[in-house]
């Protein structure tokens, strides 16, 4: 078993109208990871997922799912994949149980009520199993779509904007479900434009912009690499101006002279080049009394906004 459960090679997609939705995408998804595909609306997230799942024909390139070409060996490739679409599509009059059982049968798996029950229970849908889809709330419908995608016991689960339009409590529940799935060995690829979601869940992050994959990185490495840290030094006595001695540190006075703000690269911390030690020494030498220190690391959201801006 290779480590990569999905390989996307040199993928292009140009739609009939001439719109270039994807450009030269190369991507490997590792077995068992949670991969978050981040990008603004219209960046090509859904198109990429659709090509992998066989809903959209690629213009060039190929996709291997567990080593199977998703066009020439579509049966093997698709059998491994569960897809939760972005839109809340459903047949309004069908019952939850029937809908989820249908999905299992459609993927060619023999009936297994015990598995369907397990899936429904894990998504808190068991009580609703006799309800028609039309009677469910939006969040419940989203869960049913997840249940349908899990009905055939896929190894890979695609979640396209799983928490769009879902309230905060339900979002937390959904993250929990995704974690449990990952723990059971399912590889998860989710798209989102909620950075919080990627930051909370993902092992690796890919950023897609205007059809191009601009970055794929381990989440921690990404945050470390691109994250700026900010050290705020709260002073006992306010300063009117920046003392001469401290001018070389690139400090900024804030809070009407009650605080000094120092920005540095978190990455530089590894070779002890943050300059914090020198700064503190100079503060002491200048006789400035420090009341408190406070550090803050920029969130993935800030990183993302910067990244999309930079490449724009």
């Amino acid at each position: 078993m290779s480590e990569d459960v999905i390989r996307v090679e040199a993928l292009d997609k140009t739609f009939a109208g001439g719109f270039e939705a994807l450009r030269d995408i190369d991507l490997e998804i590792r077995r068992g990871e949670i991969f978050a595909l981040l990008g603004p609306n219209g960046a090509g997230k859904t198109t990429l997922i659709s090509v992998i799942c066989g809903l959209v024909n690629p213009s060039r390139g190929r996709v291997l799912v567990d080593g199977f070409d998703n066009v020439h060996q579509f049966r093997e490739a698709r059998a491994r994949i569960g897809l939760v679409p972005q839109e809340l599509t459903n047949d309004a009059f069908i019952k939850v149980w029937d809908s989820v059982s249908f999905s299992r049968g459609l993927f060619g798996k023999p009936k297994d009520p015990a598995h369907i029950e397990k899936v429904l229970r894990s998504l808190s849908l068991w009580e609703k199993r006799h309800n028609r889809m039309i009677t469910l709330s939006g969040g419940m419908k989203r869960r049913v779509l997840i249940a349908k995608a899990l009905a055939h016991e896929p190894e890979i689960l695609f979640l396209d904007e799983p928490t769009a339009g879902v309230d905060v409590a339900l979002r937390r529940d959904m993250w929990e479900v995704v974690r449990q799935l990952r723990d059971s060995g399912v590889t998860i690829i989710l798209t989102t434009h909620y950075i919080e979601e990627a930051e909370e869940m993902a092992d690796r992050i890919g950023v897609i912009r205007a059809g191009e994959l601009v970055l794929v990185e381990d989440k921690r490495a990404l945050m470390q690499k691109l994250g700026r840290k900010e050290l705020t030094i709260h002073l006992r006595d306010p300063l009117e101006a920046m003392p001469e001695r401290l001018s070389s540190h690139g400090l900024r006075l804030s809070d009407e002279g009650h605080a000094l703000v120092y920005t540095y690269d978190a990455e530089a911390g590894e070779d002890d080049g943050t300059g914090i030690a020198e700064l503190l020494a100079d503060l002491e030498a200048a006789g400035i009394a420090v009341k408190d220190l406070h550090t803050r690391q920029s969130s993935l959201e800030e990183i993302f906004v910067n990244l999309v801006k930079e490449t724009a």
Binding site: L55, R75, R78, I81, D91, K109
Partner: protein, 253 residues
């Protein structure tokens, strides 16, 4: 062939019509009864016989065909249009099944439904007029081929249609007129020679004629020609579906 997948699709489609089982049965019974009251009893009483068969009995095969054609087209077109419209088609398209398996599921279910309705109409007709079936095997063959062919046509319409209007357009503007002008209620030789020739361009003529032959042994055109024409339509429908799948037309961008 992935049997489990096809079975699931087929049964789900059948279940969809079971949800409206009452109207599914009532409507063919009602419309067949109306035709018999109006054409069979009221008008038919003034017409003695057509080709040696009482008028009431003469129109039975045509009415069954009318039912079969309209039901096949509407069932199959709605069956595939609805998931496209609601978006649930994504699941079928991402499932590990081939296009032809999808066709067997959808078209098979639509054809089954219209066959059931055709048989119900046939039984209803029996309440109004006595009729005989001279070639029962050929009758079943004509029934089957027509149901499958026109369910395929419905499937194509359901993929082509981009809105509910278009879904109604072909049945309304094409199927119904062709059926009424296809010798359902008359024998072609009741027409002036010019219109007889024109009528031969109507595919439904061959269906009705062949089907009527299997009942009474009388026909406007040779039953073999009828059979050949149905097979030709079937072949054309299959070719068109194959083209749709090869190009991904309206299904897969």
């Amino acid at each position: 062939m992935k049997f489990e997948s096809v079975k699931t699709l087929y049964l789900a489609e059948m279940a969809r019509s079971l949800r409206t089982v009452l109207q599914s049965i009532v409507s063919p019974v009602l419309s067949t009864s109306l035709y018999f009251v109006v054409f069979g009893a009221a008008i038919g009483s003034r017409i003695s016989e057509v080709d040696g068969v009482s008028y009431g009995a003469f129109i039975v095969p045509g009415l069954i065909m009318l039912m079969l054609l309209t039901q096949s087209v509407s069932n199959a077109s709605f069956g595939i249009f609805f998931p496209r419209f609601s978006g649930t088609i994504y699941e079928v398209l991402s499932a590990p099944i081939s296009y032809w398996e999808v066709v067997v599921g959808y078209v098979g279910a639509a054809a089954s439904k219209s066959l059931i309705l055709g048989v119900i109409a046939l039984i209803t007709a029996r309440l109004f007029v006595p009729y005989s079936i001279e070639h029962p095997l050929m009758m079943v063959l004509f029934l089957l081929l027509t149901a499958v062919t026109f369910s395929l046509l419905g499937f194509i319409i359901g993929i082509w249609a981009e809105g509910f209007e278009r879904l109604q357009l072909v049945p309304l503007l094409v199927i119904t007129p062709l059926t009424f002008l296809g010798g359902t209620f008359y024998s072609i030789d009741m027409l002036p020679p010019f219109w007889q020739a024109v009528t031969l361009a109507n595919p439904v003529v061959y269906l009705v004629s062949g089907f009527r032959w299997s009942f009474y042994g009388i026909s406007d055109v040779s039953p073999l020609v009828s059979l050949a024409m149905i097979l030709l339509f079937l072949g054309a429908a299959i070719a068109l579906v194959a083209w749709i799948f090869r190009t991904g037309y309206r299904l897969k961008p």
